[in-house]
């Protein structure tokens, strides 16, 4: 029988996908039966989506960049550099 500690570790370290089919099934079954492990797994997923919403999901302007001139600035600098070569 797989232990809670092993399940928690596999889930948090992204190693579930690289396991053999039987092991993955065993973990799925365990997650289905164990409320604490399933809570752990849900929370690990929620951490990811909350971080995505914080930085990735919001428009860049809201991440804290008021003007959309990032690319233009980079290109100006690059063209100066290219010419200087």
């Amino acid at each position: 029988m797989i232990r809670c500690k092993d399940v928690a570790k596999l889930v948090a370290s992204d190693q579930l996908r690289s396991q053999r089919l039987m092991k993955r099934l065993e973990v799925r079954l365990h997650l289905w039966m164990c409320r604490y492990c399933s809570r752990w797994e849900r929370q690990i997923r929620q951490l990811g989506s909350a971080a995505r919403n914080l930085v990735g999901g919001t428009p860049l302007e809201q991440v804290g960049k008021p003007h959309d001139d990032l690319e233009a600035g980079v290109l100006r600098k690059l063209s100066k550099k290219s010419r200087g070569k």
């Binding site: 992204d14 929620q46 995505r52 930085v55 990735g56 990032l70 290109l75 290219s82």
Partner: protein, 203 residues
Amino acid sequence: MSQATAMSSVSEMKAEFLVRLHQREPEALATVVQDHAKPLYRAARGLGFREEEAEDLVQDVFATFLERLDRFEGRSQVRTWLFGILHHKVMERRRDQYRDQQNDPIDEVFESRFDTHGNWMRPPQDLEQLLESQQIGEAIKHCLETLPTTQREVFVLREIEECETGEICKILGISITNLSVLIHRARNRLRECIEARGWRRAG
């Protein structure tokens, strides 16, 4: 079109683009900047750099990209190469941070949650309300600050940029085993921090 023909035309396109890049053709450079400047900026912000710092960092990444362009042979994707440069810049600027430690105290915190049989001794608290509330953004922001640089990078690349395992390993120059350890520590540290905040709020 057969799969082989399709693949060869894709690699021809890549080779052609690479030639244009090596010639420093402005349009090719502009394409790279348009495609990657925002994701790099977003990652830099996720790594805790302020707006101006993040913008400066992105400028710096592209400057280095241009300098080393001749060494780029197209074996990895442009994105991987650019994020690799970003990683080196971040490490330069965060010299005070520790590199991968063999022993991280967070491992003991994880161990302490289980008894000798591997059963939960200190199960995860119910954070449902906090995790689904608006406050979670602030909590994550605060708790990301507690992560050592490499752990934070791994977390940002995995969860925000949604990079595949192999790509993260290439960007950071680490093994898959090392990556598993780092992502495990990053998530544990974040979760512990959120739990402590949630607990304080409930108390």
